[in-house]
């Protein structure tokens, strides 16, 4: 199969214009599993792993711009983990060190798996994707990009150039359950962000629906109940928040876990994450 190794963004876009349906390969940690298994027919490959523009990231004012080929290992680095802690924690749960060195945030978006580890944090952050083709460029909010189980709105000839997320003031948490203590596919995950400026809690449920789920009712409820001066919350608020998060889940049964366990797990994780972020008021 022919492979184009792009050395610049323009290279990649030109190749993509010529072969709009080519497989875009970055770290290959998802794609190669399918290729090796023979379940993904490949006619043409465009490798973007050596495109410098896609590997950079930039902190500009209240925004962080992440190139699509930023790796999980880079996300876990000191600087990025202080800017977007939940995303860094999510990146740490991906695969093994070798996988994290190769796999990229753009790849996680491109695969659009319900179990994609960085997706809930990106949903909670309302990430904006820059989608570029040889002739067009547009910004797409993440919840319009991911459209279903392993499907997204990327058109032939387009690639994900970068991801823009806000740098928020306030603690963040990401927790993920798997049947092993590392290197495991998510059974359920929970992301919680605080925005002290807007006095808002943002959260997202992972692996309990076809796409990551924002439990908006739960978010609105807890945001209104938090004592933002003291950073505290009453214990019953945590219980209600957890119940609301759990009821927002739309999990399925599969060989990795039952729907009932996943719903239960979301309740436990959401309460624990919130109590890490807010102190419980003693009544």
């Amino acid at each position: 199969m022919p492979v184009t190794v792009a050395r610049s963004l323009d290279d990649a876009l030109s190749a993509l214009e010529e072969h709009p349906n080519a497989l875009i390969l970055a770290g290959g940690t998802d794609v190669m599993v399918e290729v090796n298994k023979g379940t993904r027919p490949v006619e043409q490959v465009i490798s973007i792993g050596r495109v410098p523009e896609l590997q950079d990231w930039e902190h500009e004012g209240d925004w962080l711009h992440l190139g699509a080929a930023v790796t999980y290992t880079e996300l876990m680095g000191e600087e990025l983990s202080s800017l977007v802690p939940a995303l860094a924690q999510a990146a740490r749960t991906v695969g093994s060190p070798q996988i994290r060195n190769a796999g990229t945030i753009g790849g996680n978006l491109g695969t659009s798996s319900p179990a994609g580890d960085t997706l809930p944090a990106l949903f909670a952050l309302n990430a904006i994707l820059t989608i570029r083709s040889k002739t067009t460029v547009k910004e797409v909010p993440i919840d319009e990009f991911i459209t279903g189980v392993k499907s997204n709105s990327l058109n032939p000839g387009e690639l994900i150039e970068k991801i823009r997320v806000p740098v928020l003031e306030g603690p963040q948490e990401f927790c993920k359950i798997g049947p092993r203590n590392a290197m495991v596919i998510s059974v359920a995950s929970f992301t919680l962000l605080t925005d002290h400026q807007e006095k808002q809690v943002k959260s997202c449920l992972g692996t309990v629906g076809p796409v990551p789920i924002r439990p908006t009712e739960a978010e609105d409820f807890i945001s209104g109940e938090v004592n933002w001066e003291q950073n505290t919350v009453r214990p019953e608020v945590l219980d209600n928040f957890a119940a609301l998060c759990s009821s927002a889940a739309r999990p399925i049964d599969d060989h990795r876990g039952s729907a009932a366990y996943r719903r239960h797990a979301i309740r436990v994780l959401s309460r624990r994450a919130a109590s890490r972020v807010f102190s419980e008021e003693i009544s």
């Binding site: 749960t93 092993r180 366990y261």
Partner: protein
């Protein structure tokens, strides 16, 4: 004379010294050649078409389209099997390729050789097979009352062991039903090999295996060749653990090479590998233990049912072990144990490290804890009180004539103080990298378990190993067909040779069928004793020949000759000669070594069926997050009976690796089978412990009590670490949760009840 020792060690590790593996560094840096790295000029690639159904009838099989593809050199089916289309370790009951009936998912239907792996893939897709699906037999409890799924019937073996007075009743009785899931050996090197057609009409096969000569006799029979025309050479093995005892692609490769008259290479994918080898038998076990009010065991009743899957493999020997060792290393005067292994349309099961003793250890150790609770006794005390010791009888009526430091392994393991701290970092708590727990969510449990099994083959099997020792110009060459699968024979053979011959340089010839007799299987913890014994015997014979020759040639007293540091010296005369000079004419000895004979079990499961036994204990400390059902094993402490320690470094490796495999079975490793179909045939979903799951192994004690009759007094050490570790971990989880947890592996939904949500 065999007691003579050299005074100064020649360089290179000898008996009792740590010998680093010669393949250690190459395996880490990637330069070791595994069987999957084999290459031959002009070779073809082979592949296998497998049934997607666990039970079906083939109604049409058409290879025409596949043969028309450019680059396809051969497409073969059962019709092309030159000899008997059946093979098997104990009974030839498994077809090389299915004829009409499919008995398990993944059963081979056709094989292909082509110029390129991609052409192989296309050819396999082009073979047209029509199946008439049949309802699979998947419940082993129904096997005996269901229509036969194989001409040999659905019962593979039943053993009714009755020992002692059958009327005994205990004042205290505890009962339980336990289950063990299907574990995979999870070796990292998938099945692979290379067959090269021979000029004599025979074939040369290079393959990773556990027993070259047993492979040869089965392959020759399927190929319709004399054994001498099938030459099998060991290729680099990427782990075995029992999964390479049965044939996999052996006959397929030879058939393709002989048909095309070209070398053919084949490698299974990971998914295919899960269908290409046997697994550990899933078990369902019922136990009733009887004791008096002081905690003395009086009687054990048990029924052990193993699911053998579609073909017999080594199931008959596995159920013998499960039955004989069903009650653990305890002194029990009365027993009624029924062991049954049946055939189903589930994946075939066979050998895996621990071989039947792993499953029953989960049962008997849970029972001992139940008994301790019922008696309000300390679980360590009740174990020590009932521990087997030399002179005691096993459930089979056999008296233990060798060493049995059971109380010692329990005591030392129990007394070893835990060094692990309370964890605070979420990464080191249950949930690990997922950071799901904080310290206040965790409850800790600690428990001990003890287990044992037989060493070597049992029940009257003619168990032997062969070795050739050649000594020339001061260099020893050892030829032995012992399969090195990671257990450490390559270092041990050199250590033994240096010890006996006082030489520095020891060359290990390739393990192959054409140069030496059978070494038997690298399984049953037997090669240190058996092939170690053969090498020892061959070296001793060469040493005697050398000394006799020197005594005559130089008129010196043979009784005062010693081999010291590459020299032969007389203790009382002025005589010294270098080994190099003394062996300018080569000396050699070719030997067979046998352990003491064993005998079949009688109709009551009684008899001196086993040679020797090895014992181990584990103490596990676990942290559990009861609300999420997640577990982290924070410490594993072990004591093991080894007879005598020959290579301390390798022993530590065995103790750590076996414990990791046992931990895996306790908390995560299970081949999930639904209606006969494997649902997790990948390392994405068949999970084995990572560095965040496996704690450091603390060795409390290595008990050295030399075993009478064993070469150097050493017992095999490979299997015990995987026997008691599983039981210890699950017992510790019970301690942490107060749950019964009768099934391993423990899943998160076994710990957390989700119905309430």
């Amino acid at each position: 004379m065999s007691d003579l020792k050299t005074e100064t060690p020649v360089s290179g590790p000898r008996i009792g010294e740590s010998a680093p593996r010669p393949d250690g560094v190459p395996k880490v840096n990637g330069s070791f050649a595994f069987s999957s790295d084999l290459w031959h000029k002009n070779m073809l690639w082979g592949g296998t078409l497998r049934s997607p159904f666990p039970s079906a009838r083939i109604t049409r099989l058409d290879i025409t389209e596949a043969l028309l593809i450019d680059g396809v050199q051969a497409v073969l089916t059962h019709e092309d099997v030159p000899g008997q289309n059946l093979y098997g370790l104990e009974h030839a009951d498994q077809p090389v390729m299915a004829e009409e009936i499919i008995r398990y998912e993944g059963e081979p239907v056709a094989i292909v050789a082509a110029d390129h792996p991609e052409i192989v893939r296309r050819a396999l897709n082009a073979i047209q097979v029509e199946y008439e699906e049949m309802a699979p037999l998947t419940d082993p409890e129904l096997a005996e009352e269901t229509d036969f799924i194989h001409p040999d019937g659905n019962l593979i073996r039943r053993i009714n062991l009755r020992h002692g007075d059958q009327e005994v009743q205990g004042e205290i009785q505890v009962e339980g039903i336990y289950e063990v899931g299907m574990q995979d050996q999870a070796f990292l090197g998938p099945e692979s090999g290379l067959a090269v057609p021979g000029e004599d009409g025979g074939v040369d096969l290079y393959i990773s295996t556990q027993w070259l000569h047993a492979d040869r006799s089965q392959v020759a029979s399927c190929l319709g060749l004399e054994e001498e025309r099938v030459r099998i050479t060991l290729a680099g093995v990427g782990g075995a653990f029992g999964a390479r005892e049965d044939l996999s692609l052996h006959v397929h490769l030879c058939m393709l090479a002989m048909r095309t008259n070209r070398a053919v290479k084949m490698i299974y994918s990971r998914e295919e590998s899960f269908h290409g080898h046997v697994h550990r038998h899933p078990a369902k076990m019922w136990y009733r233990h009887h004791a008096d009010s002081k905690g003395n065991l009086l009687r054990v009743e048990a029924k052990v049912l193993l699911d053998g899957g579609a073909y017999a493999s080594s199931s008959g020997a596995v159920i013998a072990n499960a039955t004989c060792f069903a009650a653990g290393p305890y002194r029990i005067p009365s027993a009624d144990i029924e062991g049954v292994v049946v055939r189903t349309n589930n994946p075939p099961c066979g050998a895996m490290r621990g071989f039947g003793a792993v499953q029953t250890c989960v049962g008997h150790e849970a029972q001992m804890d139940k008994l301790a609770r019922a008696l309000n006794m300390d679980p360590v005390e009740i174990r020590i009180k009932n521990a087997l010791k030399p002179g005691d009888k096993l459930l089979t009526g056999q008296t233990i004539t060798g060493t049995a430091p059971v109380a010692e392994v329990i005591q030392t393991c129990a007394e070893h103080t835990s060094t692990c701290q309370e964890s605070t970092d979420p990464m080191s708590l249950p949930g690990g990298a997922g950071r799901t727990a904080d310290p206040e969510h965790i409850s800790r449990g600690e428990a001990i378990a003890v287990g044992f099994k037989n060493l070597m083959f049992s029940e009257g099997f003619d168990d032997f190993s062969s070795a050739l020792c050649q000594l020339e110009n001061g260099v020893a060459t050892i030829t032995c067909a012992c399969a090195e699968v990671g257990q450490g024979f390559v270092t041990l053979a050199q250590q033994i040779t240096r010890e006996i011959l006082g030489v520095e340089e020891v060359i290990l010839a390739p393990a192959a069928t054409q140069t030496v007799g059978s070494a038997g299987s690298t399984s049953a913890s037997r090669q240190t004793w058996m092939s170690g014994g053969a090498v020892q015997k061959a070296c001793e014979e060469v040493r005697v020949k050398l000394l006799e020759k020197l005594a005559v040639e130089h008129q010196v007293d043979i009784d005062n000759l010693v081999l010291v540091d590459g020299q032969v010296t007389s203790l009382n005369e002025d005589f010294t000669i270098s080994l190099e000079e003394a062996t300018s004419e080569p000396l050699e000895a070719r030997v067979e070594y046998r352990h003491a004979p064993t005998f079949p079990l009688d109709e009551n499961g009684q008899g001196d069926a086993h040679v020797s036994f090895a014992f181990s204990a584990h103490k596990a400390v676990v942290d559990v997050d009861p609300e999420l059902g997640l577990v982290k094993v924070v410490e594993l402490i072990t004591s093991q009976d080894v007879g005598r320690l020959l290579n301390p470094l390798q022993a530590v490796g065995q103790l750590e690796g076996g414990a990791a495999q046992g931990l895996g079975l306790a908390v995560m490793e299970e081949v999930l089978v639904t209606e006969g179909n494997i649902r997790n045939a990948s390392f994405t979903d068949y999970l084995i412990p990572t560095a965040l799951d496996m704690p450091p192994v603390e060795i409390a004690a290595i008990i050295e009590q030399p075993e009478p009759g064993a070469p150097f007094g050493a017992k095999g050490i490979g299997e015990p670490p995987s026997i008691s570790s599983t039981a210890a971990v699950v017992a510790a989880i019970r301690e942490a949760t107060n749950l019964e947890l009768p099934r391993v592996p423990v899943r998160f939904t076994d710990i957390v009840s989700v119905e309430e949500d």
